[in-house]
C-alpha cells in the first residue's frame, strides 16, 4: 500500500499538477454539464441579447446609416458580438458566491489544487454546449443576411482568436472577483448587477462604441469592460489597430489576474467556513 508521490509547492510544480490533472477535470466537468443539459441550453439562450440588439439597430438603420453604421455593419457587429459573448461566457460569479456563502467552498479548499482551477474547467466544459446553440443561430443569420458573411485574413483571424482568449480570461477574472465579494458581503450579487449594467454599455454589448461621443471612445476602450467583449469584435471587423488593442487586453488580463490573486488570499483569511 503506497501513498501518492508528494506534490510540490512551487509555481512550476503546481502548474505541472494542473496539467496532469486537467483531462480528468475536464471529463468530470463535462459530465456535470451533460447532467445539467437543459439548464445549460436555457443559460446559453439567455445570452443571446445581441440578436435583440441586432433587430433594434437594423430597424433604426433601415432608412439611413447611423454614425456610419448601416444594416450590414450592424449585422456583422452583433453576429460577432453573439459569438464572442458565447465564447467568453461564464457563471463563476454565481458559483463562487454560492460556495462561499453556503460553506461549500470548504471541501474544495481541502484539496491540493486551487479551487478556481475546477471552476475554470467547468466554464471551459460548457463550450461545446455553447457551440451547439451558437451554430444554428449563426446559420440562421447567414441565411437571412448572406452578404454579412466574410472571411478574415489569417493574421486578423489569429489576432481575433488571441483576443477572444484574453477576453475570456479577463471576463472570467472579473466574474470570479465579484463572486469573491461574498467573502466580505452577504448580498454581494448586487455589486455584480451594478457592474453588468455599466459593462453592457461600456463593453459594446448594447451598442458599438464607435457610436459614443468622439472624446469618450478612446477612454472607454482603455477600461476593462471593452477588453472582455468589444476588443475581439472590433479586431475581427478591422475597426481598431490590432497591436495596441491586444496590448491593452494583455494589461487587463495581467492586472485582473493579479487582483484576483490578492483578493483570494485576503478572502480565504476571512472565510468562516460557515455551516461546514
Amino acid at each position: 500500500m503506497s501513498r501518492p508521490a508528494p506534490l510540490g509547492s512551487g509555481t512550476a510544480a503546481r502548474l505541472w499538477h494542473v496539467v496532469r490533472a486537467w483531462p480528468a477535470l475536464q471529463q468530470v466537468a463535462f459530465s456535470g454539464m451533460v447532467a445539467y443539459r437543459a439548464e445549460m441550453v436555457i443559460w446559453v439562450l439567455s445570452a443571446t441579447l445581441p440578436l435583440v440588439m441586432l433587430a433594434l439597430w437594423s430597424a433604426a438603420a433601415a432608412d439611413a446609416p447611423i454614425g456610419g453604421w448601416d444594416q450590414l455593419g450592424f449585422t456583422r457587429y452583433f453576429a460577432v458580438n453573439l459569438i464572442v459573448r458565447q465564447l467568453t461566457g461564464a457563471w463563476v460569479v454565481w458559483e463562487l458566491n454560492w460556495q462561499i456563502r453556503q460553506g461549500e467552498l470548504s471541501p474544495r479548499l481541502l484539496r491540493p489544487m486551487h479551487p478556481l482551477v475546477f471552476n475554470l474547467a467547468e466554464t471551459l466544459a460548457a463550450l461545446p454546449f455553447r457551440a451547439l446553440v451558437l451554430f444554428p443561430l449563426v446559420g440562421v443569420l447567414a441565411v437571412w443576411r448572406p452578404e454579412a458573411l466574410f472571411l478574415p485574413s489569417p493574421s486578423v483571424g489569429a489576432a481575433f482568436l488571441l483576443s477572444v482568449a484574453m477576453a475570456f480570461f479577463a471576463a472570467w477574472s472579473v466574474q470570479a472577483a465579484f463572486g469573491m465579494l461574498a467573502f466580505w458581503f452577504e448580498q454581494s450579487m448586487g455589486f455584480w448587477s451594478a457592474w453588468f449594467a455599466v459593462w453592457a454599455l461600456c463593453a459594446g454589448y448594447f451598442v458599438p462604441l464607435d457610436l459614443f461621443p468622439a472624446g469618450w471612445v478612446q477612454l472607454v476602450r482603455a477600461l476593462p469592460f471593452y477588453s472582455t467583449l468589444g476588443a475581439p469584435i472590433d479586431i475581427l471587423l478591422g475597426r481598431v489597430a490590432i497591436g495596441p488593442t491586444l496590448a491593452v487586453q494583455a494589461f487587463w488580463v495581467v492586472a485582473l489576474g493579479a487582483g484576483l490573486g490578492l483578493m483570494w488570499r485576503a478572502g480565504v483569511r476571512r472565510y468562516g467556513a460557515v455551516g461546514a
Partner: protein, 318 residues
Amino acid sequence: MIEVRGLTKTYRVPVRPPGLGGALRSLWSREHREVHAVADLSFTIRPGERVGFLGPTGAGKTTTLKMLSGLLYPSSGEVSVLGHVPQAREPAFLQQITLVMGQKQQLLWDLPAAESFELNRALYGVERAEFRRTLDELVAMLHAEPLLEKPVRNLSLGERMKCELIASLVHRPQVLFLDEPTIGLDVEMQVQVRQFVAELNRQTGATVLLTSHYMQDIAALTPRLLIIDQGRLRYDGSLDDLTRRVAPERRVVVQAVVPELEALGLVAHEGRMVATVPAAEANALLQRVLAVAPLVELGVEVPPLDEVIGRVFREGRA
C-alpha cells in the same frame, strides 16, 4: 504528528436588537461582539492514535478541526500537523489529510459517486493503478459496490456517507479528521462506519481525530478523549480514567425483584433491582446479594458514557 499550543479562535460577530427599531439602528451603527470559539487549547496527538473530541454544541470542536485541517486561520497560537502549518495549505500537506464532515459533502450532487472519486484521484495526484487498488479495497470494506454508478442525489443519507468516506480516502491520508461522520445515520449504518474507521486505522496506521454526539462512536473507536467546553480543554486522557474520576460508583443490578434485597439498599425499577455504590464496595454488595438470593442473575455496571460526559459538562468535573 499533531502539535497544538495555545490555539485560540475569536470571531467578531454582528449583533442587532430584534424588531424594526433594531434594524434601523443597525443601518448607521453596527454593533459587534467577540465570540471566543476556541481559547488557549493545547494538546499533542501521536501518529496512529485514535482520539475522540467531545464537547457540547458550540464548544469549539468543529472550529478546532477546521483550524487543524487548514480551513480556518487561528487568531493566535501554534498548530503543526505532520510538520506543516495547516493554514498554509501546502499541497503536500493537503495530500496527507482528510476532513470528513457529516453535514457537508464534497460529492458532485447530480453525478454518480464514481465521478467524484475520479475527480479526487486527479486532484490528489494518485496514479490510476494505485487508485484502482485503493478504491476496490474501500468499496469492499464499505460494501459500496452497488452505489458507485448511481447519481449521488439518488443515494440515501447512509449510502452518501459511505461514498463520502471513499471520496475522502482515495488518497490514503495519514490523518483523518472526522466531524460527526455518523450523524443522522441509522444504527446499522453507524456500526458499519465505526467498524470501517477502526479497520482503516488498523490497516493503514492513520491517525484519527473524531467528533461525535454518539457516545457509542467514542466508546467503540477512541481510547483517548479530549473534552472541550466553551473553547477550553477540560480533559485529556483515557475513557477508563475519566470514568474512574468522574463516576467512581458502580451499579449493582439484579435481574429480578426480590423484596428481601431492599434491606441491602437495592431499589426496584422496571422489573430489576439496582443499587449505586462506590466501586470499592461493589464486590462486597454482590456477595451479600448472593447470600440473600443465590439464584438471581446479577451484574455490575459502569455508568453509561453519556452520563459520565454529561457530568463533566454539568459539574465541570474531570
